[in-house]
Amino acid sequence: MLKIDREYKEKLIDPLFAPLDRSFKLSAGVLLALILWGAALYFRQVFLGLGVTGMGRPVYWSMYIVNFIFFIGISHAGTLISAILRVTGAEWRRPITRVAEAITVFALIVGSMQILIDMGRIDRLPFTFIYGRLQSPIMWDIISVTLYLLGSVTYLFLPLMPDLAIIRDNLPAGVPEWRRKFYVILSLGWRGTKEQWLRLEKAVGFMAVIIIPIAVSVHSIISWILASTLQPGWHSTIFGPYFVIGAIFSGIGALFIAMTAVRKLFGLEKYIAQKQYRNLGLLFITMNAVWFYFTFAENLGIATGQQTYEMPILATKLWGEFAPTFWLMVGFMAAAFWILVVPLLLPKPKPEAAPSPIFSRRFITSSAAAMAFFAALLIVPRTVSAPLASLTSASIVSTVVWALVIGNAILFLLSVSLWLKAHPVTATVIASALVVVGMWLERWNIVIPTVTHPMLVSSAAYTPSLTEISITVASVAGFVFMFMIFFKLFPPIAIWELAEGEVIKEAQSKVVIPEPEASDPRMRRWGFKSNSR
């Protein structure tokens, strides 16, 4: 019989057995409807052919591949947080490992489904085993993604086992029989003996080490699928590390969103606290900076080389038909960087002095309104009338208007910074949402401009069809739905890891650190150690 702290039981186990409330049923219903709609359109696609998508020649790959790269990228949250932080013994990881590992498994399931959805002949999937050619990057991908999925399911399950045994031994009264059996079977006879603990620690430690290179290989290989072709814009050596960094970056974003949702729904503010947000936030800022560095490096070579086939693709991103998605991506990432960094730089407001008027509500609303007005000035006249459009699209006018949009955006971001400083969790979630959407756009900006601008086929346009959009929405819905089900069955925080952390903290608190020796302040100022007593 395993014992559990009363507080843990109340916070982490009891909610699992609470009756389903209305908001849960409603959101599950909506998500299921979206999933079923997507599934129906998918079966239609299998029956009729990929003609129901917006693809054609030369756009042979499109939104499904974008989703594939995106979701597999999201899956890197789990490995990073859980494995790297476990290996390096970062104590603050404890309350968020479970959420991170769950993201990995679900994002991988949704991500690898995208490739299957994209296949023209799903019935021939076994051919990849029967006739598989190891020389093909797709085979590398199948191997590494399968390995990663198996590895991360194991890595999710291993630390779950003691928790399942704790639940098994602490079931509330009146639990349905199937739930009892569920935990009995899944806990695999865990009794918490010393030998079992030693084995578990060994297994978790081994998996943590082994899963890091697998995770790095997965997103490298995805990038190599693109980079191993001769297509302009893809044939680049920087893609491997660029994709891995992007994956970790978007993964942290997804983790922030998921852990905040769990924190709010389960009321776990005590466990998932400022420390987690601050430390992971610093990692997030680092990834953001590295991502900017890579994006710049990737495009710099193309811009300065100005090669026949490479340059037109970059041009479409900088000022052509992909400029909206490209600059939106850059804008989102820059805004996320600002939201994370600037509040840290602001001095703590003094309670006795009123804050500068720039942080006032009036300034926030007026700068936002001005930004929206000038942005509308850029877009609306084009749709309304031609003479008006010619007025605003004159180069001097449009330059001034653009400057006003960007200037007001900066003023807006500056004016909300104090509010963001006061609400770090909300600020982090906003930044995360920007990054997750920005990273999806990044995948789009990598895949679509190249397939629409091949070397010997005239440029094409690509608009996703209803089928592709629905399946994408259904994929996101499926991802969220899996979370909802998972956290109705399993505790959102690794209970034993939390308890272990408490024990370590308590043991550390008993260690007495000697006070530093007092030295003569006058001498110390000049860098001398005082020996005279």
Binding site: G56, P58, W61, G120, R124, Y131, L230, Q231, S458
Partner: protein, 242 residues
Amino acid sequence: MPKWSMVIDLDKCVACQGCSIACRFENNTPVVTPDQAELGRAVRWNDVFPMPVNPTEEIGEYPSVKSQYITRPCMHCENPPCIKVCPVGATFINEEGIVEQNYARCIGCRFCTVGCPYGVRYFNWYKPEWEAPLGEHLNPDRVEGSGVLEGPAVRPLGVVEKCTYCIHRLKKAHAQAEAEGRDFRPDEYVPACVQTCTGKARFFGDLDDPESTVHKLSLNSRTFRLLEDEGTHPKTIYLREG
């Protein structure tokens, strides 16, 4: 073993698209409606299009405009990027240098279509269909055996297809020579596009044979290959306009 190669003399090509039509009837390429063609789903194993491919890049201004047309079958590269990326070996280069496509093996991942820098590969977005009179006149030739389905055999939904230098003609020529109990001669076989070419701009033969026309033409000073610096070594060779 011959190494099949095609030489296209652009000085003689009149861009009549006869090769495209001959190819279409020889190889049963499906017909699509105009709205599908708009989406880039027209299948032209042998395509004829202006160069450069994007009109915005057109060189010169009226009246001194230079427009050039190019006719493009598969390049049958000696170092084909498409076969390297295929996960199941559905596309492969045979011992006579022809890049083949096995419709019974292809899983429809479209990595080869993305990998090919020439865009010579096509995909069956829908089940191929022909309107009433066309459907009755399909080429009955099939290349099939031990799980291999290629050539003009009607393609199933969701697979990739491409120019095969009329592989069924080659197989038939080989079979005939065997039936007559004699050695196969390289001049017994030409693809349909070469046979039909109005301006007699296309030449076909064994590139390894120093006496063959294609070998001699390949040494011409007007010789060039498409995307020559990509390292694919095409065996479809062009002669520049004079």
